[in-house]
């Protein structure tokens, strides 16, 4: 029961009690009818209609969704491709209405996948437009994104278009992690097709650095940058990117000008970047010292994560033999 506010306790009125009693009775009667028909293996159009009425009241009844699919495949209409197409199209309309009301139900998305997979002629373009509308309502809904990937997997040569879709989402809100995530899954394929990999990677780096400048406190853009470093093909490129990152951090820290709350994330990233550089080519004693000093500073400004900084101090101290 997520996000349901608690009301002050009070005794319900007689009318409210009666309304509630009727609601319970109506639901239980319908539920019992459907479950009885199912137990008797009744696979008819009237039974199908009852499952619809019940599922409109409660989308979470997976047994009833299963029963509904079984009925659909038993009806005469299933054998005729034109009829089957018509029946399943109305199934999609029914689903769209209730998905809008409860976008987080696993069972409805499963049923939609089954419906599309069972159609003689699935209109994937229409599904893509529909899921785009749903993501407009909730840009981070992971069911929506999972479904989008399912739809795209049934279409040809979508990598570049999908990549452009994530650019659009990120330009709208650079903290849309779902879009960044999907981008990371698409980028390798897009690079493989690209005529100019080096140029694309430079563009990608500036996109993520821009996200970092927009909100330095947002961990996600930093993680994406780290990943971008890891997929470079040469240590030379990795070093160059890490050095660019350190320069960007120093610039950010100057802007924050000692504001402890604002500089926490860049400080962690500074340590991570220098430690990563050090794995490729040993950093100077001075920068090692800077890492350890920074971790001490982090412990004092971000006490909630002190355990993490202590572990990092120990790990780097051991690596550099600098700590007592």
């Amino acid at each position: 029961m997520h996000g349901h506010r608690r009301q002050a306790l009070r005794e319900p009125s007689v009318d409210e009690k009666e309304q509630n009693r009727q609601r319970v009775e109506k639901y239980c009667t319908l539920n019992t009818s459907v479950m009885n028909l199912r137990a008797q293996s009744v696979f008819t159009a009237p039974a199908l209609d009852l499952t619809k009425r019940l599922l409109e009241l409660n989308t979470e009844l997976h047994t009833v969704w299963n029963y509904r699919r079984t009925i659909l495949t038993h009806l005469d209409t299933w054998q005729d491709p034109t009829e089957r197409q018509r029946v399943l199209e109305s199934e999609l309309d029914f689903l769209f209405d209730i998905i809008k009301k409860n976008i987080k139900s696993y069972w409805m998305w499963n049923h939609r996948v089954w419906t599309l997979n069972s159609m003689p002629q699935a209109d994937w373009q229409r599904e893509l437009a529909l899921v785009a509308r749903l993501l407009e309502l909730d840009a981070r809904n992971f069911h929506g994104w999972d479904y989008r990937r399912f739809v795209v997997s049934h279409m040809d040569d979508m990598d570049v278009a999908e990549f452009a879709f994530t650019t659009e989402q990120i330009n709208r809100d650079c903290a849309n992690h779902s879009a960044w995530h999907n981008r990371s899954k698409l980028l390798p394929g897009v690079l493989a097709k690209s005529g100019n990999v080096a140029e694309m990677l430079v563009t990608e780096q500036s996109l993520v650095l821009n996200a970092i400048y927009t909100d330095p406190d947002d961990q996600n853009a930093w993680l994406y940058h780290e990943w971008l470093v890891s997929i470079q093909t040469s240590d030379e490129d990795r070093l160059r990117m890490l050095r660019d990152k350190v320069a960007a951090i120093r610039e950010l820290l100057e802007l924050e000008d000692g504001d402890d709350a604002g500089s926490k994330r860049p400080l962690i990233e500074l340590v991570d970047a220098l430690a990563a550089i050090d794995k490729l080519e040993a950093v100077a004693e001075e920068e090692r010292r800077e890492c350890l000093d920074t971790l001490h500073r982090l412990k004092s400004i971000d006490g909630g994560h002190a355990g993490r900084y202590t572990d990092m101090l120990q790990m780097l101290g051991k690596r550099w033999e600098l700590v007592k």
Binding site: L9, L57, T63, F142, D146, E226, W227, G304
Partner: protein, 337 residues
């Protein structure tokens, strides 16, 4: 109301009220929610049973009644439905088996039938596990299949390497895991993937530093944890995030005492039970994961039973079942403090 919500954080865990709340759940026949949640009753009983076990009141619920009810939910295919007469699903099969283990009644089921049901859900080509005969795939089911089989000492009956490959394909750049290959990282899926790898003895494939760093950032100013960046905190992530950090050996990377304060603030001081966040209506799911979170966070105000971070059951029960061996299978480098 006698106290403001801010005060409840200082009041401590309302043990008796939570036990009474859990006991009352089976009597709310005049409430529509009772009937609307019938399809997952087996899981509801599991959440309630974990709550009272961790509160040290394992005798609060009627053991024989629960065991009989669970046995009545098993179908001919060997799996369990969420209620009597409902279709089998691996989610409810997990809750049913966990309850039978907690009430020491696993010998009452035909182990071969349950094992056969779970083994039958694996795609032999890809290693993926379906939730039921309709074929929905999810990393949750990967964990559940290994967990159920482990209770029957039958993990070797499925292609474990295939399950591990599937989990590995679901890993993302932030070190986390999604609902499947391509899915965005989400703390609950992170838990299921880590728990699956723990049982398989393959946590070595995890990027421990990166994932621990991502999980540590799930704590918000309120002390509560969220499941993904930029999302609201919610008591259930006290379990999903902290159990993951526990498996990674990194619960000290967040501020556990502030987390305890957040969970306690979400208690219903009148009716008992814990909600998703302060001021909301309590439910048994958040009551279970709130109390389990307090146990993992080392809450000092009450002697809670220790919870196992892989199975979400009391450590004493998991030891009795001989399943704490996942601890011995941790990567060597993780074992050093």
């Amino acid at each position: 109301m006698s106290q403001t919500l801010e005060d409840t954080g200082h009041e401590g865990l309302l043990v008796d009220r939570h036990v009474e709340y859990v006991k009352s759940l089976d009597k709310k026949h005049d409430e529509i929610e009772y009937w609307m949640t019938e399809h997952l009753r087996v899981s509801g009983v599991y959440w309630g049973a974990v709550a009272v076990h961790l509160l040290g009141r394992s005798d609060a619920l009627d053991r024989d009644g629960i065991v009989d009810y669970i046995l009545g939910c098993q179908n001919d295919d060997g799996g369990f439905g969420g209620h009597v007469g409902h279709d089998s699903h691996i989610l409810y099969t997990m809750s049913a088996v966990q309850l039978l283990v907690m009430y020491d009644a696993l010998d009452k089921v035909d182990s071969g039938k349950v094992v056969g049901y779970v083994v039958g859900l694996q795609d032999k080509a890809t290693g993926e596990i379906s939730g039921d005969s309709w074929g929905e795939k999810d990393t949750r089911f990967a964990f559940i299949s290994l967990a159920i089989l482990s209770f029957f000492d039958a993990v070797g009956e499925i292609d474990v390497a295939g399950v591990v490959r599937y989990v590995e394909r679901s890993m993302n750049y932030d070190g986390g895991f999604g609902s499947g290959p391509g899915g965005e990282s989400h703390a609950a899926q992170v838990f299921t993937c880590l728990a699956a790898l723990a049982i398989a003895g393959r946590l070595d494939i995890v990027d421990r530093e990166r994932l621990s760093g991502w999980l540590a950032e799930r704590q918000l100013r309120s002390g509560g944890l969220n499941g993904r960046p930029q999302k609201l905190e919610d008591v259930c992530y006290s379990w999903w995030v902290l159990s993951s950090l526990k498996i990674l050996g990194r619960t000290h990377w967040i501020d556990c005492s502030r987390l305890c304060g957040f969970i306690l603030g979400a208690q219903d001081t009148d009716g008992g039970g814990i909600a998703d966040r302060p001021g909301d209506v309590a439910d048994v799911y958040h009551t279970c994961f709130g109390i389990a979170g307090l146990s993992l966070a080392g809450y000092g105000g009450y002697p809670l039973a220790e919870v196992d971070p892989v199975y979400c059951m009391p450590v004493s029960v998991i030891e009795r079942a001989g399943l704490r061996k996942w601890v011995d299978k941790l990567p060597e480098s993780w074992k050093q403090a």
